[in-house]
């Protein structure tokens, strides 16, 4: 079998046992892998309407067929479950080296069910699976500690996926970490893994992944590299990384500033890409990626990969913080304690806002760094102000009588692009399948970076968001990273090799649409709330007073109309329910 290993490792934490079963190749032919195959397995494995905290709610790790091969940027892992935070699907992506190692160990996917009676680490060396008691040894460790422990106690080449103390304490925005600084960050799976008392899965694989005629594949890959990978567009990520966008988005009036009260941060120059380039020490890559976008920096004795754009936005400008050392300390603390920087930055800013407005004194103020840098550890431990921050934006804002100050969609805290500066993002957030997320459709790129679409209009944005979601869903089903700006033609050629049959551009885009509709059915089955956006982000009263996007607002009616336009384009009814005709057209093999 080429690309796939054809094997799924099933881990039962309640029984302390594991089994290996065949990968469902019918599903793989229909949904490819990565996102698509994950969703199909979630549909099957998650009992309908299950309490997301229940032992029966699985956590699934899925690779793409490209992981562990020479397909560039093809080593992404996706983690999924029914989220205990949002109650709907969550799929969270991470690079690093875990997915390739999982393939070399002989597995396309790992399904974790049940709940361990006591804290446990699961180690996997090829066929050998062990359940290692973690209570006295590993539980409580921070990310670097558990990773080093696995290299010392299990295998020097072990790749580890772990929760930090935040996950152990079931913080809703706890992340899964691998290779220290790489995070499957968002959506609530970290809390579920903690509930399952699973500290880490550590894996070592010495096997192989086939791709047919290897020498022919190397020739193909070499041409692909030269003609389609190492070009200016992709290499920009190497030269500057994600921080490259910080100044641009601030100037455009679209970067979260002081709890989304403005789109422009006056002190952005202190934490923008230029500021970071001055303290950059090295650049690192994920497994099987020649672009290498991971920027390491050093300041004030702190050496750390990052901060990435989102961290600069949510933990920097959104908190009014312009001190680069403090930002790096905050980032490193989040990495070590195992907390998503986007959600925490969002909630810290909310707490700062409530403090400054005199609603409740959390001891946190915009721009003040002493208490700010302590927030990640306190939140992970649910200590002091951390216990309040752990509530998340929706619950914290509601608790103190200001729901309008909590910037979230479906309980997922909003990330680093304000829709008032980039109207297309309003639909992106509202219709994202896992809650407020910029990584499903990203119209901000065209609206503000290349400037080919107007940022202050919703015209054509319903179609655009849908197209981006469809193309993305297909790409993430192949296991590819976003930072390879690969065209559909090349993706089709790759898919033909993987599937062993002819794949047209329409086929490929239809795959994406199929995957997106499958996700929608899952969410409808489990009870998704109406697609919406925070009031202040669409109503006239929320328009910014300053910056390039000052005075601009989407308008409640225009937003509602755009949403209906989106549903109609998708072949969904006015409540966003896919029609039977659409499901048949796409070949979705499940129904509500």
């Amino acid at each position: 079998m080429d690309f796939y290993k054809g094997r799924v490792l099933r881990i039962d934490l309640s029984a302390g046992t594991s089994t290996v079963e065949p990968l469902n190749m019918e599903w793989a032919q229909r949904y490819l892998g990565g996102k698509g195959l994950l969703l199909r397995y979630l549909w099957e494995e998650v009992p309908t309407s299950v309490d997301p905290w229940a032992a029966e709610n699985p956590v699934i790790l899925m690779s793409g067929p490209t992981a562990g091969t020479g397909v560039f940027l093809g080593g992404r892992l996706v983690v999924g479950c029914k989220s205990p935070r949002t109650g709907i699907l969550t799929d969270s992506y991470v690079g690093g080296s875990f997915a390739p190692e999982m393939k070399f160990a002989g597995y396309d996917a790992i399904i974790v069910t049940g709940e361990s009676p006591k804290p446990v680490v699961v180690t996997v060396k090829d066929d050998l699976v062990s359940f290692v008691p973690a209570e006295d040894k590993y539980w409580g460790m921070r990310t670097s500690e558990i990773e080093e422990a696995m290299r010392r106690d299990f295998d020097p080449e072990a790749k580890t996926l772990s929760i930090g103390p935040a996950g152990e304490n079931e913080i809703a925005f706890a992340c899964l970490s691998t290779d220290l600084h790489h995070k499957a960050g968002r959506g609530g799976h970290g809390a579920l893994v903690g509930r399952k008392k699973l500290k880490a899965i550590s894996i070592r694989g010495t096997g192989s992944v086939s791709v047919g005629d290897a020498k022919e594949f190397l020739d193909y890959a070499y041409r692909l590299q030269t003609e389609h990978v190492l070009n200016e567009e992709n290499l920009a990520m190497h030269e500057e990384g994600t921080p490259g966008g910080a100044q641009l988005y601030s100037d455009a009036g679209a970067i979260p500033t002081r709890n989304f009260s403005s789109g422009t941060f006056a002190d952005m120059e202190n934490i923008n890409s230029d500021a970071l380039l001055a303290i950059r020490t090295k650049v690192r890559a994920c497994y099987q990626c020649p672009v290498a976008c991971r920027q390491w920096h050093e300041a004030g004795g702190v050496s750390c990969e990052g901060p990435e754009y989102e961290t600069i936005a949510l933990c920097g400008s959104n908190c009014g913080v312009s001190d680069i050392e403090a930002l790096m300390r905050f980032n490193l603390a989040c990495n070590e304690w195992g907390v998503d920087t986007i959600s925490l930055g969002n909630v810290v800013a909310l707490a700062m806002d409530l403090t400054e407005k005199g609603v409740e004194d959390f001891g946190l103020r915009f721009g003040e760094t002493d208490s700010y840098v302590k927030a990640p550890a306190l939140t992970a431990k649910r200590e002091g102000v951390g216990a309040e921050l752990a509530l998340g934006a929706r619950a914290l804002a509601a608790k103190y009588g200001h729901p309008e100050l909590g910037f979230e969609v479906k309980s997922l805290e909003l990330p680093g692009f304000d829709p008032r500066g980039s109207f297309g993002m309003s639909l992106a957030y509202a219709t994202s399948d896992r809650g407020g997320c910029h990584m499903r459709a990203f119209p901000a790129g065209d609206e503000l970076e290349s400037g080919t679409r107007p940022p202050d209009s919703l015209e054509g944005k319903a179609q655009y968001n849908m197209d981006l979601q469809n193309a993305g869903a297909a790409k993430w089903s192949a296991g590819l990273c976003d930072f390879w700006q690969v065209d559909v033609e090349q993706l089709c050629l790759l898919c033909e090799r993987i599937w062993g049959r002819s794949v047209s551009e329409d086929d490929f885009l239809q795959l994406g649409e199929r995957v997106w509709n499958l996700g929608r059915l899952f969410n409808l089955r489990e009870g998704v709330e109406a697609d919406d956006l925070p009031t202040l982000m669409r109503a006239e009263e929320g328009a910014f007073a300053d910056g390039l996007s000052a005075g601009k607002f989407i308008g409640d009616q225009a937003f509602a109309a755009a949403l209906q336009e989106y549903y109609a384009l998708r072949g969904w009814d006015e409540n966003g329910v896919p029609s039977e005709a659409k499901l048949v057209e796409l070949g979705v093999d499940v129904r509500l």
Partner: protein, 166 residues
């Protein structure tokens, strides 16, 4: 004499070289048996490259009691760019150290003496395996082509070690 070098300063730890090496030699992607490797410490981000220095080292050949590691003539034509390209040009003639499977008894003497840790027992064949410069077109260099990185180089030393056999 030609050998591959990984620059510890420039390497980003992507492991594309290991992947390509293994695919070329094994017929499938299997980096655990790559003939070179980049050792990455994820905690510190520190990197150390490990490659065979061929006749510039030749400790394995010296240690082998069976004469199973022989010196072969080779013309290396690098596919792609590499730091030494301007200096060495398109084709480099020299020698490479090759294991003769039929003579190797897997005694392990070479595994113990290799200073860079790049000769090992093959898990499937129970003989030593090592870098052979891919018979002339090193795949590792071919797949380290990010113009800002170019961490895999072909080095050509002026002299061999005294112990290297012609």
């Amino acid at each position: 004499m030609p050998h591959v070098m990984i620059s510890s300063k420039k390497c980003t730890g992507c492991h594309m070289c290991e992947l390509a090496c293994s695919a070329y030699h094994e017929g499938a992607y299997r980096p655990s048996v790559a003939r070179l490797f980049s050792e990455v410490n994820p905690t510190t981000g520190a990197i150390k490259g490990h490659t065979c220095l061929q006749t510039a080292c030749a400790k394995c050949q010296e240690a082998c009691p069976e004469d199973a590691i022989v010196t072969k003539e080779i013309t290396v034509r690098v596919k792609g760019d590499y730091p030494g390209k301007e200096k060495h040009g398109e084709a480099v003639k020299g020698s490479v150290l090759v294991v003769l499977d039929e003579k190797c008894t897997n005694c392990g003497e070479c595994y113990d003496v290799c200073p860079t840790g790049v000769i090992h027992e093959h898990p499937d064949k129970q003989v030593a395996f090592k870098c052979d410069l891919c018979g002339g077109e090193p795949q590792c260099i071919a797949f380290c082509q990010n113009p800002h990185v170019l961490a895999v180089d072909l080095k050509v030393d002026k002299t061999d070690r005294p112990g290297a056999r012609a």
